[in-house]
Amino acid sequence: MLKRFLRQPQAVLSLLVLLAFALGAAFAPLLAPYPPDAVNPRDMLEPPGSEHVMGTDDIGRDVLSRLLFAGRTSLTLALGVAFFSVLLGSLLGGVAGFFGRRLDALISALVDTMLSIPALALAMVASGFIELTTGRLILILSLISWPTIARLVRGQVLSLKEQPFVEAAQAAGAQHLRILFLHVLPNTLTPVFVAGTLLVAYAILIESALSFLGFGLPPPTATWGGMLNDAQLYFREAPWLAVFPGLAITVVVASIHFGGAGLREALDPRSEAGS
């Protein structure tokens, strides 16, 4: 499987890019040339140069340093959201598909309902009136994102539970929950893992959109979307304020997509990459 992944150059490149971003985020305190919140009134709106590689913002903070620390927040948040959405979505989708009837009707109705509210609007309302922390934002975005995973898992479980191995487990006297958790759900892992990867990209985008609109984590926490929001007032004089954070978002999200596509190819035995 690893071989099949390595055979796709754009997937490998994406993985390396993501690795670089992850390391940059993990070692932000060591790598950042300045403290991310250090205000320096003498160096306001300084263009990129030798002293500040990516320039400074309107209160003299170093853009590169903030970018690295923002990567910490954004990546932690996105991974958290993907993890909890997959957990919740697999659980509810699995239960719905496996037990069917009333439970299925109830959960499916909930999924359809959640999916008919524009996600960004829901996220804005849920985070607009409370004191936002990273943990709370992860919770909010997970509660918004699980339905797509639930729908996917439900579909998978519906077809899996007709398979002979489930019948065999039943014949062996295994209980319902045991069959669901030990036999059925593990078989959904591959598509769920791919969907979960895309959810990381989605979470980065929705978090930055939220910050951009002014409903993200409160200052001084640096986030990529928040930096873009701050850049709004000054981007005519200081375009670097808008260019770098947006570039970071785009590169990371694109890498996740290319990497996810490579993963799907590598995990799918019918795909061309295996031949």
């Binding site: 996600a119 409370i130 979307g225 590169v251 999200v253």
Partner: protein, 309 residues
């Protein structure tokens, strides 16, 4: 059909709780004003009914809505229906222009990708598709304004019309161009990839070989025989985008100062204008529900094999 009302009811309760449960409220914004006395803040709360228990408030809201009264905006002191209706029309302009633009370009690109054997065109579509998903609209919008409005001075940097000029269609379309292109990038990307993949599949069918044997040109049989067969599932693909299109439009409106529902919601949330927030959100949900319904109907019309009881 029958499931729609319970769904709307459930969503309205959920949204109502999300708005009203957190501590603080619209009156607190007035309380921040040092000249406001505790007494007058209490009067405001009473006037808006915010001092009553939540279930009572919700019941009041629901009965009023059932009578067609969505309340008055706290900030503008005008009926919510009037405010939201104005903004809805503006959002409709933006989303309609986006969908039309994206459809035209996606069909052109998708057909080109399916007809041509060139590896280049195919990887162009593929690369464009990933970029379209990855570039956040608030960034591409900012860059478009920076390059085309600020540096090159080719297009207006925002708004719906040139100030001081009477309404004209060309002026409106001129102002729509950049936001629609920015918001549409994602859909051009996704739809062209979908169409290309679908067309390539259809073009391997037997009846296409017949069309080829008749001597029809490649482009002609792709358009006449290929496209209609891809169009039916494509309707669903387009129709299901409604919620994401609305989310995207919200951001685009803020970037391009387009006075639509997204900007309305943003400002109403910041000023805690509860009636406007509820009105805008419920209209968002209603649009999605109606879009899903229309998708099903269009599917039935386009494919005579589909019949609804």
């Amino acid at each position: 059909m029958a499931g729609i009302f319970p769904r709307l009811l459930f969503i309205s309760i959920l949204l109502f709780l999300l708005i009203h449960l957190p501590a603080g409220g619209p009156a607190d914004i007035y309380a921040a004003d040092p000249s406001a006395s505790a007494e007058s803040i209490e009067r405001i709360r009473e006037l808006w009914g915010l001092d009553r228990p939540l279930p009572v408030q919700y019941g009041q809201w629901l009965t009023n809505v059932a009578r067609g009264n969505w309340g008055n905006s706290y900030a503008e002191r005008r009926p919510v229906t009037a405010i939201v209706a104005e903004r809805f029309v503006n959002t409709l302009w933006l989303t309609a222009a986006t969908v039309v633009l994206a459809l035209v370009l996606a069909v052109a690109l998708g057909v080109a990708g399916a007809v041509s054997d060139s590896r280049f065109v195919k990887s162009l579509i593929e690369g464009f598709a990933v970029l379209g998903i990855s570039i956040p609209t608030f960034w591409s919008g900012t860059l478009v304004i920076l390059v085309f409005a600020v540096y090159l001075d080719l297009i207006p940097s925002g708004g719906m019309a040139t100030i001081g000029r009477p309404f004209s269609l060309t002026d409106r379309l001129w102002h729509l161009l950049a936001p629609a292109a920015v918001l549409g990038t994602l859909y051009i990307a996704q739809w062209s990839r979908y169409l290309q993949a679908g067309l390539s599949e259809v073009l391997r069918e037997d009846y296409i070989r017949t069309a080829k044997a008749k001597g029809l040109s490649r482009v002609t049989f792709t358009l006449r025989h290929g496209l209609p067969n891809v169009a039916i599932p494509f309707i669903t693909v387009v129709g299901l985008e409604a919620p994401r299109l609305l989310s995207g439009a919200m951001v685009t409106e803020v970037v391009f100062s387009w006075p639509g529902m997204g900007r309305l919601l943003t400002s109403a949330l910041l000023s805690r204008d509860y009636p406007v927030v509820m009105g805008t959100l419920m209209l968002f949900v209603l649009i999605v529900v109606v879009a899903n319904l229309l998708t099903d109907l269009a599917y039935g019309l386009a494919d005579p094999r589909v019949r609804y009881q």
